[in-house]
Protein backbone atom coordinates (compact mmCIF):
# COMPACT_ATOMS: atom_id res chain seq x y z
CA UNK A 1 0.00 0.00 0.00
CA UNK A 2 2.17 2.83 -1.22
CA UNK A 3 0.81 6.23 -0.40
CA UNK A 4 1.15 9.02 -2.93
CA UNK A 5 1.35 12.65 -2.15
CA UNK A 6 1.71 15.59 -4.48
CA UNK A 7 1.91 19.12 -3.28
CA UNK A 8 2.63 22.29 -5.15
CA UNK A 9 4.42 24.48 -2.69
CA UNK A 10 4.80 28.18 -3.18
CA UNK A 11 7.89 28.64 -5.22
CA UNK A 12 8.00 32.32 -5.90
CA UNK A 13 10.65 33.13 -3.32
CA UNK A 14 12.86 30.29 -4.48
CA UNK A 15 12.48 31.32 -8.09
CA UNK A 16 13.45 34.86 -7.28
CA UNK A 17 16.45 33.79 -5.28
CA UNK A 18 17.61 31.46 -8.00
CA UNK A 19 17.08 34.01 -10.72
CA UNK A 20 19.01 36.67 -8.90
CA UNK A 21 22.06 34.47 -8.79
CA UNK A 22 23.54 36.43 -5.92
CA UNK A 23 21.22 35.71 -3.00
CA UNK A 24 22.29 34.42 0.36
CA UNK A 25 23.12 30.97 -1.06
CA UNK A 26 26.71 31.78 -1.65
CA UNK A 27 28.21 28.84 0.20
CA UNK A 28 29.63 26.36 -2.23
CA UNK A 29 27.86 23.06 -2.14
CA UNK A 30 28.35 19.84 -3.98
CA UNK A 31 26.25 18.97 -6.98
CA UNK A 32 23.23 17.02 -5.79
CA UNK A 33 23.53 18.21 -2.19
CA UNK A 34 20.25 19.05 -0.49
CA UNK A 35 20.60 20.38 3.07
CA UNK A 36 17.67 19.62 5.36
CA UNK A 37 16.93 22.18 8.08
CA UNK A 38 14.58 21.91 11.02
CA UNK A 39 12.08 24.73 11.12
CA UNK A 40 10.80 26.13 14.39
CA UNK A 41 13.42 24.22 16.36
CA UNK A 42 16.22 25.60 18.48
CA UNK A 43 19.04 23.23 17.55
CA UNK A 44 21.73 25.26 19.27
CA UNK A 45 20.95 23.63 22.62
CA UNK A 46 21.07 20.08 23.91
CA UNK A 47 18.59 18.56 23.66
CA UNK A 48 16.94 20.55 20.87
CA UNK A 49 13.77 22.38 21.83
CA UNK A 50 10.64 23.61 20.09
CA UNK A 51 7.29 25.05 20.99
CA UNK A 52 3.97 23.40 20.15
CA UNK A 53 0.71 25.04 21.25
CA UNK A 54 2.64 27.32 23.59
CA UNK A 55 4.32 24.42 25.34
CA UNK A 56 8.02 23.71 25.20
CA UNK A 57 9.17 20.28 24.11
CA UNK A 58 12.58 18.69 24.03
CA UNK A 59 13.43 16.67 20.96
CA UNK A 60 15.34 13.69 22.28
CA UNK A 61 15.54 11.87 18.98
CA UNK A 62 14.65 12.59 15.38
CA UNK A 63 15.61 10.23 12.58
CA UNK A 64 14.04 9.74 9.13
CA UNK A 65 14.85 7.19 6.44
CA UNK A 66 14.62 8.42 2.85
CA UNK A 67 14.86 6.02 -0.08
CA UNK A 68 14.63 5.64 -3.84
CA UNK A 69 15.23 9.22 -5.02
CA UNK A 70 14.04 10.14 -8.50
CA UNK A 71 13.79 13.29 -10.56
CA UNK A 72 11.34 14.03 -13.34
CA UNK A 73 12.85 15.36 -16.54
CA UNK A 74 10.76 16.07 -19.62
CA UNK A 75 7.85 14.33 -17.97
CA UNK A 76 9.68 11.06 -17.26
CA UNK A 77 10.89 9.81 -13.90
CA UNK A 78 14.59 9.06 -13.76
CA UNK A 79 15.99 7.04 -10.85
CA UNK A 80 18.94 8.52 -8.99
CA UNK A 81 21.40 7.16 -6.46
CA UNK A 82 22.64 8.66 -3.25
CA UNK A 83 26.38 9.07 -2.89
CA UNK A 84 27.57 6.28 -0.62
CA UNK A 85 28.86 7.31 2.80
CA UNK A 86 28.17 6.41 6.45
CA UNK A 87 24.71 7.94 6.17
CA UNK A 88 23.74 6.77 2.70
CA UNK A 89 23.70 3.66 0.57
CA UNK A 90 22.93 3.98 -3.12
CA UNK A 91 19.21 3.93 -2.47
CA UNK A 92 18.78 4.78 1.22
CA UNK A 93 19.68 7.81 3.32
CA UNK A 94 19.22 8.41 7.03
CA UNK A 95 18.55 11.93 8.23
CA UNK A 96 19.34 12.33 11.91
CA UNK A 97 19.18 15.48 13.95
CA UNK A 98 21.03 16.10 17.20
CA UNK A 99 21.25 19.25 19.26
CA UNK A 100 24.62 20.73 20.05
CA UNK A 101 25.44 18.13 22.67
CA UNK A 102 29.05 17.91 23.68
CA UNK A 103 31.08 15.33 21.81
CA UNK A 104 28.01 14.41 19.85
CA UNK A 105 28.34 14.24 16.11
CA UNK A 106 26.00 16.51 14.30
CA UNK A 107 24.09 13.67 12.77
CA UNK A 108 23.21 13.88 9.12
CA UNK A 109 21.30 16.90 7.93
CA UNK A 110 21.63 16.61 4.19
CA UNK A 111 20.80 14.36 1.29
CA UNK A 112 23.63 13.88 -1.16
CA UNK A 113 22.40 12.77 -4.56
CA UNK A 114 24.74 11.31 -7.13
CA UNK A 115 23.58 13.78 -9.75
CA UNK A 116 25.28 16.46 -11.77
CA UNK A 117 24.31 20.10 -11.58
CA UNK A 118 23.26 19.88 -15.21
CA UNK A 119 20.85 17.04 -14.46
CA UNK A 120 19.40 18.77 -11.43
CA UNK A 121 18.80 21.90 -13.49
CA UNK A 122 16.63 19.92 -15.88
CA UNK A 123 14.47 18.39 -13.16
CA UNK A 124 10.92 19.54 -12.60
CA UNK A 125 10.13 17.25 -9.65
CA UNK A 126 11.91 15.33 -6.93
CA UNK A 127 10.33 12.10 -5.72
CA UNK A 128 11.45 9.91 -2.84
CA UNK A 129 10.03 7.56 -0.26
CA UNK A 130 9.92 8.06 3.49
CA UNK A 131 10.73 4.53 4.58
CA UNK A 132 12.69 1.59 3.26
CA UNK A 133 12.06 -0.89 0.46
CA UNK A 134 10.83 -4.27 1.69
CA UNK A 135 14.09 -6.11 0.97
CA UNK A 136 16.28 -3.71 2.89
CA UNK A 137 13.71 -3.20 5.60
CA UNK A 138 13.69 -6.83 6.65
CA UNK A 139 17.22 -7.97 5.74
CA UNK A 140 19.73 -9.57 8.10
CA UNK A 141 21.07 -6.67 10.18
CA UNK A 142 24.50 -8.30 10.28
CA UNK A 143 24.89 -7.98 6.55
CA UNK A 144 23.45 -4.48 6.27
CA UNK A 145 25.72 -1.56 5.47
CA UNK A 146 25.49 1.75 7.32
CA UNK A 147 23.07 3.45 7.82
CA UNK A 148 20.80 0.40 7.66
CA UNK A 149 22.43 -1.14 10.75
CA UNK A 150 21.63 1.70 13.14
CA UNK A 151 20.05 -0.34 15.92
CA UNK A 152 18.26 2.70 17.33
CA UNK A 153 16.23 2.80 14.10
CA UNK A 154 15.68 -0.96 13.95
CA UNK A 155 12.94 -3.08 15.46
CA UNK A 156 13.70 -6.58 14.23
CA UNK A 157 13.90 -8.61 11.06
CA UNK A 158 10.20 -9.24 11.36
CA UNK A 159 9.05 -5.65 11.75
CA UNK A 160 11.99 -3.99 10.04
CA UNK A 161 13.10 -0.44 10.68
CA UNK A 162 11.52 2.65 12.08
CA UNK A 163 11.02 4.86 9.04
CA UNK A 164 10.55 7.87 11.30
CA UNK A 165 11.56 8.06 14.93
CA UNK A 166 10.56 11.13 16.91
CA UNK A 167 10.91 11.19 20.71
CA UNK A 168 9.74 14.28 22.62
CA UNK A 169 9.69 15.20 26.30
CA UNK A 170 7.90 18.08 27.97
CA UNK A 171 10.53 19.47 30.34
CA UNK A 172 7.94 20.76 32.80
CA UNK A 173 5.85 17.64 33.21
CA UNK A 174 8.34 15.05 31.95
CA UNK A 175 5.54 13.77 29.72
CA UNK A 176 6.92 11.77 26.84
CA UNK A 177 5.61 11.53 23.32
CA UNK A 178 6.98 9.20 20.65
CA UNK A 179 6.14 8.64 17.03
CA UNK A 180 7.72 5.52 15.61
CA UNK A 181 6.49 4.94 12.08
CA UNK A 182 7.22 1.63 10.40
CA UNK A 183 5.54 -1.32 8.78
CA UNK A 184 2.81 -2.93 10.85
CA UNK A 185 1.33 -6.41 10.75
CA UNK A 186 4.41 -8.25 9.50
CA UNK A 187 4.05 -12.00 9.87
CA UNK A 188 6.87 -14.42 10.54
CA UNK A 189 7.74 -17.13 13.06
CA UNK A 190 9.88 -14.94 15.29
CA UNK A 191 11.25 -11.40 15.58
CA UNK A 192 14.51 -12.61 14.02
CA UNK A 193 12.80 -14.12 10.98
CA UNK A 194 11.85 -11.84 8.06
CA UNK A 195 8.30 -11.87 6.72
CA UNK A 196 7.83 -13.60 3.39
CA UNK A 197 5.21 -11.20 2.13
CA UNK A 198 4.40 -7.55 2.52
CA UNK A 199 3.17 -6.38 5.91
CA UNK A 200 -0.49 -5.51 6.41
CA UNK A 201 0.38 -1.81 6.61
CA UNK A 202 3.63 -0.93 4.86
CA UNK A 203 3.34 2.70 5.98
CA UNK A 204 5.77 4.06 3.42
CA UNK A 205 5.06 7.62 2.40
CA UNK A 206 5.87 8.80 -1.10
CA UNK A 207 6.86 12.44 -1.42
CA UNK A 208 6.79 14.41 -4.65
CA UNK A 209 8.14 17.94 -4.53
CA UNK A 210 8.25 20.41 -7.40
CA UNK A 211 11.65 21.59 -8.54
CA UNK A 212 12.52 24.84 -10.17
CA UNK A 213 14.47 24.31 -13.32
CA UNK A 214 17.86 25.99 -13.34
CA UNK A 215 17.92 26.32 -9.56
CA UNK A 216 20.11 23.62 -8.03
CA UNK A 217 20.67 25.17 -4.62
CA UNK A 218 17.51 24.02 -2.88
CA UNK A 219 17.19 23.39 0.84
CA UNK A 220 14.54 21.23 2.46
CA UNK A 221 12.78 22.32 5.61
CA UNK A 222 11.43 19.75 8.08
CA UNK A 223 8.74 20.98 10.46
CA UNK A 224 8.26 18.80 13.52
CA UNK A 225 5.31 20.88 14.68
CA UNK A 226 3.61 20.19 11.34
CA UNK A 227 4.29 16.47 11.74
CA UNK A 228 2.38 16.52 15.02
CA UNK A 229 -0.29 19.06 14.04
CA UNK A 230 -3.75 18.43 15.51
CA UNK A 231 -2.28 15.97 18.02
CA UNK A 232 -2.73 16.84 21.69
CA UNK A 233 0.80 15.94 22.72
CA UNK A 234 0.22 16.26 26.50
CA UNK A 235 -2.69 13.85 26.30
CA UNK A 236 -1.06 10.99 24.44
CA UNK A 237 2.07 8.89 24.54
CA UNK A 238 2.09 8.92 20.76
CA UNK A 239 2.06 6.18 18.15
CA UNK A 240 4.48 3.31 18.27
CA UNK A 241 3.91 0.23 16.21
CA UNK A 242 0.17 0.75 16.19
CA UNK A 243 -2.14 0.46 13.18
CA UNK A 244 -2.48 3.70 11.22
CA UNK A 245 -6.21 3.35 11.02
CA UNK A 246 -7.21 4.98 14.27
CA UNK A 247 -6.56 7.67 16.84
CA UNK A 248 -3.23 9.42 17.08
CA UNK A 249 -1.58 7.18 14.48
CA UNK A 250 -4.27 8.09 11.96
CA UNK A 251 -3.78 11.82 12.53
CA UNK A 252 0.01 11.56 12.36
CA UNK A 253 -0.09 9.66 9.08
CA UNK A 254 -2.63 12.15 7.79
CA UNK A 255 -0.14 14.91 8.58
CA UNK A 256 2.62 13.14 6.68
CA UNK A 257 0.34 12.74 3.69
CA UNK A 258 -1.44 16.03 3.59
CA UNK A 259 0.51 18.68 5.46
CA UNK A 260 3.73 20.39 4.36
CA UNK A 261 6.00 18.84 7.01
CA UNK A 262 8.86 18.41 4.54
CA UNK A 263 9.09 21.07 1.91
CA UNK A 264 11.49 23.37 0.16
CA UNK A 265 12.68 26.10 2.42
Amino acid sequence: MAISKIRLAALVAIVLLGASGCGPLTDSRKAGEIPVHLSGVNDSVCPMTMSVSNRDWQINYLGVYVSNPEVRIDGRWQALNFQKNDWQTKKVALLKFHGMCEETPEGNTRLLLDASEKLMKLATNLRFTIGLPFEQNHANPLSQPSPLNDSSMFWSWQAGHKFIRLDLTNPDTQHNFSYHLGSIGCESDAPVRPPEKACAFTNRVEMILPMTQLDTELDLSLSVSTMVAQVALPQTEGCKFDPPSEGVCKQLLHNLLHRPWLDWE
Binding site: C46, N60, Y61, D86, W87, K96, H98, E102, E103, T104, P105, N140, P141, L142, S143, Q144, P145, S146, P147, N149, D150, S151, S152, F154, W155, S156, Q158, A159, D167, T169, Q174, N176, S178, H180, D189, A190, P191, V192, K240, F241
Partner: protein
Amino acid sequence: MLLVALLSACDQPATPYQWQLPYNVPEPVVPAENPMTVEKVALGRALFYDTALCRNSTQSCATCHQQAYAFAEPRRHSVGATGDKVSRNALALVNVAYNGNFTWAHKGLADIEQQLLIPLFNEDPVELGVTGHDEAMLARFDTEAYRDLFDAAYGDPAASWDRIVKALASFVRSLVSFSSPFDDYAYGGDDEALTARQIDGMKLFFSERLECFHCHGGVNFTQSSKHARQALDLRPFHNTGLYNEDGHGAYPASDQGLASVTTRADDMGMFRAPTLRNIAVSAPYMHDGSVATLSEVIDIYAAGGRGDGITNPYKSPFIKGFALTAEEKEALIDFLNSLTDQQFLHNPRHGPPPQGSE
Protein backbone atom coordinates in the same frame (compact mmCIF):
# COMPACT_ATOMS: atom_id res chain seq x y z
CA MET B 1 66.13 6.76 11.51
CA LEU B 2 64.28 5.31 8.54
CA LEU B 3 66.74 2.45 8.48
CA VAL B 4 66.13 1.78 12.15
CA ALA B 5 62.40 1.79 11.55
CA LEU B 6 62.72 -0.62 8.66
CA LEU B 7 64.96 -2.93 10.61
CA SER B 8 62.56 -2.80 13.52
CA ALA B 9 59.72 -3.73 11.22
CA CYS B 10 61.71 -6.65 9.89
CA ASP B 11 62.39 -7.79 13.42
CA GLN B 12 58.67 -7.97 14.11
CA PRO B 13 57.21 -10.90 12.24
CA ALA B 14 53.87 -10.49 14.00
CA THR B 15 51.06 -12.72 12.82
CA PRO B 16 47.82 -10.92 11.93
CA TYR B 17 45.00 -12.09 14.19
CA GLN B 18 42.18 -14.06 12.56
CA TRP B 19 38.84 -13.27 14.17
CA GLN B 20 36.99 -16.44 13.09
CA LEU B 21 33.62 -14.80 13.69
CA PRO B 22 30.54 -16.93 12.99
CA TYR B 23 27.53 -16.03 10.87
CA ASN B 24 29.05 -13.11 9.00
CA VAL B 25 29.33 -11.11 12.20
CA PRO B 26 31.20 -7.92 11.29
CA GLU B 27 34.70 -7.47 12.62
CA PRO B 28 35.17 -4.89 15.35
CA VAL B 29 36.92 -1.60 14.80
CA VAL B 30 40.55 -1.90 15.92
CA PRO B 31 42.73 1.21 16.47
CA ALA B 32 45.28 1.60 13.69
CA GLU B 33 48.04 2.17 16.24
CA ASN B 34 47.42 -1.22 17.86
CA PRO B 35 46.64 -3.81 15.20
CA MET B 36 45.61 -7.23 16.44
CA THR B 37 48.33 -9.88 16.28
CA VAL B 38 48.47 -13.42 17.60
CA GLU B 39 51.60 -12.54 19.58
CA LYS B 40 50.08 -9.51 21.31
CA VAL B 41 46.99 -11.51 22.25
CA ALA B 42 49.24 -14.22 23.72
CA LEU B 43 51.22 -11.67 25.72
CA GLY B 44 48.04 -9.95 26.87
CA ARG B 45 46.60 -13.28 27.98
CA ALA B 46 49.66 -13.98 30.11
CA LEU B 47 49.50 -10.51 31.64
CA PHE B 48 45.74 -10.71 32.25
CA TYR B 49 46.19 -13.73 34.50
CA ASP B 50 49.43 -12.61 36.18
CA THR B 51 49.47 -11.06 39.65
CA ALA B 52 52.79 -9.45 38.71
CA LEU B 53 50.62 -6.71 37.23
CA CYS B 54 49.45 -5.78 40.72
CA ARG B 55 51.40 -3.65 43.20
CA ASN B 56 51.34 -6.22 45.99
CA SER B 57 50.91 -9.25 43.75
CA THR B 58 47.58 -10.14 45.33
CA GLN B 59 45.39 -9.70 42.27
CA SER B 60 45.34 -9.98 38.52
CA CYS B 61 42.83 -8.67 35.99
CA ALA B 62 41.20 -12.08 36.27
CA THR B 63 40.47 -11.57 39.96
CA CYS B 64 37.57 -9.27 39.11
CA HIS B 65 37.01 -10.56 35.56
CA GLN B 66 36.46 -14.31 35.81
CA GLN B 67 35.75 -16.35 32.70
CA ALA B 68 33.10 -18.52 34.35
CA TYR B 69 31.09 -15.36 35.01
CA ALA B 70 31.58 -13.90 31.52
CA PHE B 71 34.62 -12.09 32.88
CA ALA B 72 32.57 -10.34 35.56
CA GLU B 73 32.60 -11.41 39.22
CA PRO B 74 29.74 -12.61 41.43
CA ARG B 75 29.86 -9.81 44.00
CA ARG B 76 28.22 -6.39 44.20
CA HIS B 77 31.37 -4.40 43.80
CA SER B 78 35.04 -5.13 43.37
CA VAL B 79 37.78 -4.63 45.95
CA GLY B 80 41.17 -3.24 44.94
CA ALA B 81 44.56 -4.71 45.77
CA THR B 82 44.93 -2.64 48.91
CA GLY B 83 41.39 -3.16 50.12
CA ASP B 84 39.79 -0.09 48.58
CA LYS B 85 36.15 -0.51 47.68
CA VAL B 86 35.54 -0.02 43.97
CA SER B 87 32.13 1.58 43.81
CA ARG B 88 30.93 -0.26 40.74
CA ASN B 89 30.11 -3.81 39.82
CA ALA B 90 32.78 -5.34 37.59
CA LEU B 91 31.53 -5.24 34.00
CA ALA B 92 31.54 -8.44 32.01
CA LEU B 93 34.22 -8.46 29.33
CA VAL B 94 32.02 -9.66 26.50
CA ASN B 95 32.55 -8.26 23.03
CA VAL B 96 34.31 -5.24 24.47
CA ALA B 97 35.96 -4.90 21.07
CA TYR B 98 32.57 -3.70 19.84
CA ASN B 99 31.97 -1.14 22.58
CA GLY B 100 31.23 2.38 21.53
CA ASN B 101 31.98 3.56 25.06
CA PHE B 102 33.77 2.05 28.01
CA THR B 103 33.18 1.60 31.75
CA TRP B 104 29.69 2.05 33.16
CA ALA B 105 29.52 5.76 32.36
CA HIS B 106 32.19 7.65 30.48
CA LYS B 107 32.08 9.49 27.18
CA GLY B 108 35.73 10.38 26.95
CA LEU B 109 37.41 7.01 26.58
CA ALA B 110 38.05 6.38 22.92
CA ASP B 111 39.32 2.82 23.15
CA ILE B 112 40.20 -0.05 25.45
CA GLU B 113 43.77 1.20 25.68
CA GLN B 114 42.53 4.32 27.46
CA GLN B 115 40.10 2.45 29.70
CA LEU B 116 42.83 0.06 30.86
CA LEU B 117 44.71 2.92 32.46
CA ILE B 118 41.95 3.16 35.07
CA PRO B 119 42.31 -0.27 36.73
CA LEU B 120 46.08 -0.12 36.32
CA PHE B 121 46.84 3.39 37.55
CA ASN B 122 43.78 4.56 39.47
CA GLU B 123 44.62 5.92 42.93
CA ASP B 124 41.15 6.57 44.29
CA PRO B 125 40.23 3.83 44.66
CA VAL B 126 43.40 1.84 44.17
CA GLU B 127 42.70 -1.14 41.94
CA LEU B 128 45.91 -2.78 40.72
CA GLY B 129 47.91 0.09 42.17
CA VAL B 130 50.63 0.64 39.61
CA THR B 131 51.00 4.38 40.19
CA GLY B 132 54.22 5.16 42.01
CA HIS B 133 55.49 1.63 41.50
CA ASP B 134 55.57 1.49 37.74
CA GLU B 135 59.32 1.23 37.24
CA ALA B 136 59.79 -1.40 39.92
CA MET B 137 56.88 -3.40 38.57
CA LEU B 138 58.23 -3.36 35.03
CA ALA B 139 61.32 -5.16 36.32
CA ARG B 140 59.05 -8.12 37.15
CA PHE B 141 58.70 -8.78 33.45
CA ASP B 142 62.42 -9.09 32.89
CA THR B 143 62.17 -12.86 32.85
CA GLU B 144 63.05 -15.23 30.07
CA ALA B 145 59.45 -16.15 29.44
CA TYR B 146 58.24 -12.55 29.26
CA ARG B 147 61.23 -11.39 27.23
CA ASP B 148 60.24 -14.02 24.66
CA LEU B 149 56.61 -12.90 24.72
CA PHE B 150 57.47 -9.21 24.37
CA ASP B 151 60.00 -9.99 21.67
CA ALA B 152 57.43 -11.99 19.71
CA ALA B 153 54.83 -9.25 20.06
CA TYR B 154 56.96 -6.17 19.52
CA GLY B 155 60.28 -7.32 18.07
CA ASP B 156 61.97 -6.23 21.26
CA PRO B 157 62.16 -8.07 24.60
CA ALA B 158 61.82 -5.01 26.81
CA ALA B 159 58.62 -4.44 28.74
CA SER B 160 56.99 -1.02 28.85
CA TRP B 161 53.61 0.11 30.09
CA ASP B 162 52.61 1.12 26.58
CA ARG B 163 53.35 -2.41 25.36
CA ILE B 164 51.59 -3.95 28.34
CA VAL B 165 48.48 -1.88 27.75
CA LYS B 166 48.40 -2.66 24.03
CA ALA B 167 48.79 -6.38 24.70
CA LEU B 168 46.08 -6.40 27.38
CA ALA B 169 43.78 -4.49 25.02
CA SER B 170 44.44 -7.04 22.30
CA PHE B 171 43.59 -9.96 24.59
CA VAL B 172 40.42 -8.25 25.82
CA ARG B 173 39.42 -7.57 22.20
CA SER B 174 39.78 -11.27 21.47
CA LEU B 175 37.01 -12.10 24.00
CA VAL B 176 34.16 -12.28 21.52
CA SER B 177 30.91 -14.14 22.04
CA PHE B 178 28.54 -14.89 19.16
CA SER B 179 27.87 -18.61 19.60
CA SER B 180 24.85 -18.67 21.88
CA PRO B 181 21.66 -20.60 21.10
CA PHE B 182 20.14 -17.25 20.11
CA ASP B 183 22.89 -16.77 17.50
CA ASP B 184 22.33 -20.28 16.19
CA TYR B 185 18.64 -19.48 15.81
CA ALA B 186 18.85 -15.90 14.58
CA TYR B 187 21.94 -15.85 12.43
CA GLY B 188 22.48 -19.57 11.86
CA GLY B 189 18.88 -20.16 10.83
CA ASP B 190 18.56 -23.21 13.12
CA ASP B 191 14.86 -23.38 14.01
CA GLU B 192 15.58 -25.96 16.68
CA ALA B 193 18.13 -23.88 18.57
CA LEU B 194 15.52 -22.21 20.79
CA THR B 195 12.56 -23.61 22.67
CA ALA B 196 9.05 -22.37 22.01
CA ARG B 197 9.12 -20.56 25.34
CA GLN B 198 12.39 -18.86 24.50
CA ILE B 199 10.86 -17.66 21.24
CA ASP B 200 7.88 -16.36 23.21
CA GLY B 201 10.34 -14.53 25.44
CA MET B 202 12.13 -13.15 22.40
CA LYS B 203 8.85 -11.75 21.10
CA LEU B 204 8.35 -9.98 24.42
CA PHE B 205 11.93 -8.69 24.38
CA PHE B 206 11.44 -7.13 20.96
CA SER B 207 7.99 -5.74 21.71
CA GLU B 208 7.09 -2.08 22.14
CA ARG B 209 5.29 -3.17 25.29
CA LEU B 210 8.49 -4.05 27.12
CA GLU B 211 10.86 -1.75 25.19
CA CYS B 212 13.94 -3.85 26.09
CA PHE B 213 15.52 -3.63 22.66
CA HIS B 214 15.53 0.17 22.52
CA CYS B 215 18.58 0.23 24.78
CA HIS B 216 19.72 -3.36 24.36
CA GLY B 217 19.40 -3.51 20.58
CA GLY B 218 21.67 -4.51 17.76
CA VAL B 219 23.91 -7.50 17.28
CA ASN B 220 25.57 -6.95 20.63
CA PHE B 221 22.35 -6.31 22.59
CA THR B 222 23.50 -2.82 23.49
CA GLN B 223 23.30 0.41 21.56
CA SER B 224 26.71 1.28 22.94
CA SER B 225 28.18 -0.66 20.12
CA LYS B 226 29.92 -0.21 16.82
CA HIS B 227 31.65 -2.43 14.32
CA ALA B 228 33.36 -2.30 10.99
CA ARG B 229 30.09 -1.60 9.17
CA GLN B 230 28.48 0.54 11.89
CA ALA B 231 30.27 3.68 12.95
CA LEU B 232 27.39 5.93 13.95
CA ASP B 233 26.94 7.35 17.41
CA LEU B 234 23.89 5.94 19.14
CA ARG B 235 23.80 7.96 22.39
CA PRO B 236 23.86 4.96 24.68
CA PHE B 237 23.51 6.37 28.22
CA HIS B 238 20.31 6.01 30.21
CA ASN B 239 18.89 6.73 33.63
CA THR B 240 16.85 3.68 34.59
CA GLY B 241 15.17 5.14 37.66
CA LEU B 242 17.05 3.24 40.36
CA TYR B 243 17.40 6.19 42.73
CA ASN B 244 15.91 9.59 43.51
CA GLU B 245 17.51 10.69 46.75
CA ASP B 246 16.28 14.27 46.91
CA GLY B 247 13.09 14.11 44.92
CA HIS B 248 14.82 15.99 42.14
CA GLY B 249 16.52 13.02 40.58
CA ALA B 250 19.78 12.79 42.53
CA TYR B 251 21.61 9.50 42.54
CA PRO B 252 23.76 8.69 45.60
CA ALA B 253 26.74 11.04 45.80
CA SER B 254 29.04 8.04 45.64
CA ASP B 255 28.13 7.45 42.01
CA GLN B 256 26.02 9.75 39.86
CA GLY B 257 26.96 8.16 36.57
CA LEU B 258 27.74 10.21 33.50
CA ALA B 259 27.06 13.45 35.37
CA SER B 260 30.18 12.79 37.43
CA VAL B 261 32.22 12.96 34.23
CA THR B 262 30.42 15.65 32.25
CA THR B 263 29.12 17.74 35.22
CA ARG B 264 25.92 18.21 33.20
CA ALA B 265 22.84 18.00 35.39
CA ASP B 266 20.90 16.22 32.65
CA ASP B 267 23.40 13.36 32.75
CA MET B 268 22.40 12.51 36.33
CA GLY B 269 22.20 8.78 36.88
CA MET B 270 22.97 7.94 33.29
CA PHE B 271 24.85 4.72 32.71
CA ARG B 272 25.80 2.74 29.65
CA ALA B 273 23.49 -0.08 28.66
CA PRO B 274 25.72 -3.17 28.90
CA THR B 275 25.48 -6.06 26.51
CA LEU B 276 22.98 -8.74 27.48
CA ARG B 277 25.11 -11.49 26.00
CA ASN B 278 25.90 -14.00 28.78
CA ILE B 279 23.84 -11.86 31.13
CA ALA B 280 22.53 -14.92 32.99
CA VAL B 281 26.01 -15.70 34.37
CA SER B 282 27.15 -12.17 35.18
CA ALA B 283 24.99 -11.42 38.25
CA PRO B 284 24.63 -9.22 40.21
CA TYR B 285 23.28 -6.45 38.01
CA MET B 286 23.28 -2.68 37.53
CA HIS B 287 26.23 -0.33 37.94
CA ASP B 288 26.37 -0.86 41.68
CA GLY B 289 25.49 -4.52 41.67
CA SER B 290 22.42 -3.70 43.72
CA VAL B 291 20.10 -6.16 41.97
CA ALA B 292 20.81 -9.83 42.58
CA THR B 293 18.84 -11.66 39.91
CA LEU B 294 17.39 -11.26 36.45
CA SER B 295 13.96 -11.82 37.96
CA GLU B 296 14.43 -8.75 40.16
CA VAL B 297 15.76 -6.73 37.21
CA ILE B 298 12.59 -7.48 35.28
CA ASP B 299 10.45 -6.58 38.30
CA ILE B 300 12.18 -3.19 38.47
CA TYR B 301 11.63 -2.46 34.81
CA ALA B 302 8.03 -3.66 35.07
CA ALA B 303 7.50 -1.15 37.89
CA GLY B 304 9.09 1.64 35.85
CA GLY B 305 12.06 1.92 38.20
CA ARG B 306 12.82 1.17 41.83
CA GLY B 307 11.19 2.92 44.77
CA ASP B 308 11.58 6.67 44.62
CA GLY B 309 13.56 6.25 41.41
CA ILE B 310 10.30 5.63 39.56
CA THR B 311 9.69 9.39 39.63
CA ASN B 312 13.25 10.37 38.73
CA PRO B 313 12.90 13.28 36.28
CA TYR B 314 15.97 12.16 34.35
CA LYS B 315 14.63 8.66 33.80
CA SER B 316 14.65 7.29 30.26
CA PRO B 317 11.22 7.54 28.62
CA PHE B 318 11.49 3.84 27.83
CA ILE B 319 11.42 2.94 31.53
CA LYS B 320 7.71 3.42 31.89
CA GLY B 321 6.65 0.10 33.35
CA PHE B 322 4.63 -2.76 31.94
CA ALA B 323 2.42 -5.60 33.07
CA LEU B 324 3.78 -9.10 32.73
CA THR B 325 2.21 -12.42 33.67
CA ALA B 326 4.26 -14.97 35.57
CA GLU B 327 4.42 -17.13 32.45
CA GLU B 328 5.61 -14.22 30.34
CA LYS B 329 8.29 -13.38 32.86
CA GLU B 330 9.56 -16.95 32.82
CA ALA B 331 9.61 -16.86 29.03
CA LEU B 332 11.59 -13.63 29.06
CA ILE B 333 14.13 -15.08 31.48
CA ASP B 334 14.34 -18.19 29.31
CA PHE B 335 15.11 -15.98 26.34
CA LEU B 336 17.83 -14.14 28.26
CA ASN B 337 19.30 -17.54 29.11
CA SER B 338 19.51 -18.26 25.39
CA LEU B 339 22.13 -15.51 25.17
CA THR B 340 24.56 -17.59 27.21
CA ASP B 341 27.45 -18.76 25.05
CA GLN B 342 28.95 -21.90 26.57
CA GLN B 343 31.77 -21.94 24.02
CA PHE B 344 32.80 -18.50 25.21
CA LEU B 345 32.62 -19.40 28.88
CA HIS B 346 34.71 -22.53 28.41
CA ASN B 347 37.02 -21.53 25.58
CA PRO B 348 40.50 -22.55 26.82
CA ARG B 349 42.09 -19.81 24.70
CA HIS B 350 40.38 -17.27 26.95
CA GLY B 351 41.57 -18.99 30.13
CA PRO B 352 44.91 -18.90 31.96
CA PRO B 353 47.88 -19.80 29.76
CA PRO B 354 49.34 -23.26 30.37
CA GLN B 355 51.81 -23.36 33.21
CA GLY B 356 55.30 -22.44 32.17
CA SER B 357 54.27 -20.56 29.05
CA GLU B 358 54.80 -17.12 30.55
